[in-house]
């Protein structure tokens, strides 16, 4: 009876393990251990003493505090999640549209593609943070400052609209939408790339067959492009959610870091980070579950 490992399959399996197991080791050290420790911390109260950190078990006190007594947490949470859920379809739809436009052959295509990808290169958390703390814009409207690059807040335009319509309840949402458009275009860089790559992978034989049958451009889009690209829509949805969730100038994130390092409440910071993560993960699963039903897989 031959040993499992001396067949070719067996040998290859062992070799494969050699390739992959360094990652497993790394994962255990750098991921699993901190993860578990972090969960444990949320049930404790951490204090800094002379010999390091001392933790005392307090059960679910941190969680209770987060939900019932913290003035900022629920507010920031709702605001962040709403922003994310509102931006998500806009970003995905916009990047799909842009990718379809960019996929056509025209002069200067390379240049336009580069322009679209530029925000990814230069957006660092530091950049947006510095721009947002620009004093001149903070005087305008503290609310919307956090949602857009301040220099694009069209101050004149807003004044003009106010003078014309004399109705701030009408003007304000419009201005919000305009600011949001800017952010959406800036956040779409990577998604456009992913969609472009996906569009290129649709075989042109399908389009040719459609042309023979006499399909219009609109029909071609809805019957060929859209179904073939629907798996990639899911990839982009997941990526967008994760991206906006770990964005450095995300309010919630700022609050978590603040609690941890400025207010030195380590356990509480871990608690809110976990609650935030679980909620976002729930949102992610819900959205992906909803969309997955409509996705068309070519090979199944």
């Amino acid at each position: 009876m031959k040993l499992r490992s001396s067949s070719l399959e067996g040998k290859k399996a062992i070799a494969g393990r050699f390739f992959v197991y360094p990652w497993v080791v790394g994962m255990l050290i750098f991921f699993a251990k901190p993860l578990v420790e972090s969960i444990i911390y949320t049930f404790n109260e951490l204090k800094i003493t002379k010999t390091g950190l001392a933790s005392t078990f307090v059960g679910t006190k941190n969680y209770m505090y987060a939900f019932t007594r913290d003035p900022f947490f629920i507010d920031t949470l709702i605001k962040t999640i709403t922003t994310m859920v509102l931006d998500l379809p806009l970003i995905v739809l916009f990047s799909l549209f842009a990718a379809v436009m960019l996929n056509q052959e025209f002069k200067g295509r390379g240049l336009v593609r580069s322009a679209f990808f530029l925000p990814v290169i230069i957006t660092s958390g530091a950049l947006v943070y510095v721009l947002q703390s620009d004093m001149t814009s903070a005087q305008v409207n503290a609310e919307t400052v956090k949602n857009s690059m301040p220099m694009v807040q069209n101050l004149d335009f807003k004044q003009m609209m106010l003078q014309v319509t004399n109705n701030i309840r009408f003007v304000q949402p419009l201005i919000d939408v305009m600011d949001r458009v800017f952010i959406i275009i800036w956040k779409s860089g990577v998604q456009i790339l992913i969609f472009l790559a996906g569009l290129q992978s649709i075989s042109s034989a399908l389009y040719e067959a459609a042309d023979v049958e006499g399909a219009t451009g609109w029909e071609k889009f809805w019957k060929i492009t859209f179904p073939m690209i629907s798996p990639i829509i899911i990839v982009n949805v997941v990526y967008t959610i994760i991206d906006s969730f770990t964005d450095y100038n995300n309010e919630m994130l700022r609050y978590i870091l603040n609690t941890a390092f400025a207010k030195i409440q380590y356990a509480y910071s871990a608690t809110i980070a976990w609650i935030y993560f679980i909620i976002v993960f729930g949102v992610l699963l819900a959205i992906v579950g909803l969309i997955s039903r409509k996705v068309f897989y070519m090979n199944e």
């Binding site: 436009m101 530029l118 230069i122 994760i242």
Partner: protein
């Protein structure tokens, strides 16, 4: 003749075709309209994308007089490079640049090496736990590092592998303020966004023809040699993609350096940018903020300049490498 007429009437696109043909008599108009629409759309979008850059650039070269002058909006009356020189001085640019560069390059190289090895393992070998492990990789991408800041912070404060170091020392070494916290995880494929790179390499290696590998095996290469001599040299698009993405992400990252670096001399460029107003004012209360604004914007300009240069040089590789690496489809 009758048969033809019958068939012609039965095909459903009939009516559409004649109506469409009527439209296409004005074929050139339609095409022109579409092209115009496209260009107007792109002009608008490109304006939105480039606007911040232009604004930053134009504000950086303005003097104080220009800022209070209501007639200059984009083009300065007095072009000055003094702001840029000031920003260079206040940021400690040369040193911070060196720091950022060291971090970005070492992590990127390690990421390429390790992620390609791991990706190859997932792509070409079958072993039982494969699906589970790959799912775990995806999972590590979803969990943000912010949930683990405290344990990581403590971990690096008293770094101690398996108790070996504390044999010498009593407790572990304090690895804060070094570059080790950035580089060490990449040795194991757990660096920043490593899951994505492993995924990219896996997709790429999956797309390579099986015959290449079989030929290598027949010629007597073991798995490591196959990887090393045969698959890797062909992996240029994927390596380039991963390198560019990793380099840019590490360069722009502010979160991890803020956690681990404490002494000013080790700060990275983006970190210094966050605190730039403090450097300029040195803690004093400044009454008129317009003195600071051009220097701040000049600082932003010189911090993003290396990335823009890199992008200008390699933009073709950025945009098209994702497609060539065969990530999708």
């Amino acid at each position: 003749m009758n048969m033809n007429a019958l068939m012609y009437n039965l095909t459903s696109n009939n009516k559409l075709k004649t109506f469409g043909q009527k439209l296409t008599r004005s074929y050139t108009w339609k095409k022109l309209g579409f092209v115009a629409f496209r260009w107007i759309l792109f002009a608008g979008l490109i304006y939105v994308l480039i606007y911040p850059l232009l604004y930053i650039f134009s504000t950086s070269v303005k003097t104080y007089d220009d800022l209070i002058d209501p007639t200059t909006v984009w083009i300065t009356k007095n072009f000055t490079l003094q702001n840029i020189a000031d920003a260079y001085k206040y940021l400690g640019y040369a040193e911070a640049f060196k720091n950022t560069f060291i971090i970005s390059i070492t992590t990127s190289i390690m990421q390429i090496i390790m992620c390609s090895i791991i990706g190859y393992g997932f792509a070409r070998f079958k072993f039982k736990e494969k699906g589970l492990l790959f799912g775990l990789i995806m999972f590590t991408m979803i969990i943000p590092p912010q949930t683990m800041i405290i344990p990581q912070y403590i971990f690096y404060k008293d770094f101690d592998i398996l108790g070996i170091v504390s044999l010498f020392n009593g407790k572990g070494i304090n690895l804060h303020d070094t570059y080790v916290p950035f580089i060490l995880p990449t040795f194991f494929g757990m660096g920043l966004k490593s899951g994505l790179f492993i995924y990219i390499f896996r997709q790429f290696f999956r797309g390579m023809p099986q015959e290449l590998e079989d030929a290598a095996y027949i010629d007597g290469c073991g798995p490591w040699r196959t990887y090393h001599k045969v698959m890797l040299p062909n992996a240029a698009p994927a390596i380039l993609t991963v390198f560019l993405f990793s380099f840019v992400w590490h360069w722009n990252d502010v979160f991890e350096p803020t956690m681990y670096l404490q002494s000013q001399s080790k700060y990275t460029l983006p970190m210094k940018l966050v605190g730039i107003v403090g450097y300029i004012t040195k803690g004093f209360q400044v009454k008129d903020l317009l003195y600071i604004v051009p220097i701040k914007y000049a600082g932003i300009l010189i911090v993003i300049a290396p990335m823009i240069v890199l992008y200008a040089v390699g933009q073709k590789y950025f945009v098209e490498s994702v497609e060539r690496a065969g990530i999708v489809g």
